[in-house]
């Protein structure tokens, strides 16, 4: 099932999307760098073998093994890069006027889907820690709920302080609306 960022699965009455969050784009630089390094290593090794042992490739056994290994390496590198993209792209946080829906993709076979209703939230804190997060202004937003329930963590989101403030405003508006009703 394909969904858009503004569509909610099993929406509650009068529920609408307030904002949609994904990790900061700079976070995707890590899989890109890894992919570039893997490509450089592969191409470098191929060129090294080609220029250092040019006669070896004339031997059909070595030529066949080299082509097979090169093909497998290229496909594996590409697949790992695509997995890196999925890990980035499928981590989302959807904030509605009723709840927070946080989805985290950990590899291919682990997906954590957490929901917290705004009226159960007790505290929202933001954290910017490290050189890159400080430079590019991204960080973690912690949403603490009442009781022993696990807190929702929005990792590496852009402008975490603004997100935390918006969440607090939304919680306040939600509580006020409940009191009025």
């Amino acid at each position: 099932m394909l969904f858009s960022a503004t569509r909610i699965d099993n929406p509650r009455p009068n529920e609408h999307v307030v904002f949609f969050l994904r990790r900061h784009p700079i976070v995707f630089l890590k899989p890109i760098l890894l992919f570039v390094i893997q490509c450089a290593v592969g191409i470098g090794l191929a060129l090294f073998l080609y220029y250092t042992f040019p006669d070896f490739l004339n031997i059909s056994t070595i030529y066949a093994v080299a082509i097979i290994l090169g093909s497998a390496y290229a496909l594996l590198t590409w697949l790992l890069f695509f997995y890196g993209f999925l890990d980035y792209y499928l981590d989302t946080s959807l904030v509605t006027n009723v709840r927070i829906i946080n989805t985290e993709q950990n590899g291919l076979f682990s997906r954590v889907h957490a929901e917290q209703y705004l009226d159960r939230i007790q505290d929202v804190t933001s954290e910017i820690k490290g050189l890159f997060p400080t430079l590019f202004h991204y960080g973690t937003v912690y949403v603490q709920t009442a009781g022993a329930q696990e807190r929702v963590t929005m990792e590496q989101v852009p402008n975490p302080d603004i997100v935390a403030q918006k969440l607090l405003d939304l919680i306040e508006t939600n509580r006020h609306a409940k009191i009025v009703n």
């Binding site: 394909l2 858009s4 059909s60 056994t61 082509i67 090169g70 093909s71 590409w78 999925l86 993709q105």
Partner: protein
């Protein structure tokens, strides 16, 4: 022992690659958004995979797979 023996592990690798690639694409379709980025990612992944597979095929097809495997000791 013919050179074709090397095609067995390569075939197994390709099978694993296709399974994992299908899993990845299925994840993107099931959990991804319906937008241009999803389309572009799917398109680029398939195109690049086909390019690598096509290049590999073109290089592998010229090899005589019935030729016996030369042992390392005999090469040196």
């Amino acid at each position: 022992m013919p050179l074709a023996i090397f095609l067995i592990p390569y075939g197994l690798f390709l099978l694993c690659f296709f399974i994992f690639a299908l899993f990845a694409l299925a994840h993107l379709f099931v959990f991804g958004e319906k937008n241009f980025t999803t389309f572009l990612a799917t398109f680029l992944f398939i195109v690049a995979s086909v390019l690598v597979l096509n290049t590999s095929w073109n290089l592998l097809v010229s090899i005589d797979w019935k030729e016996p495997v030369a042992l390392i000791a005999s090469l040196l």
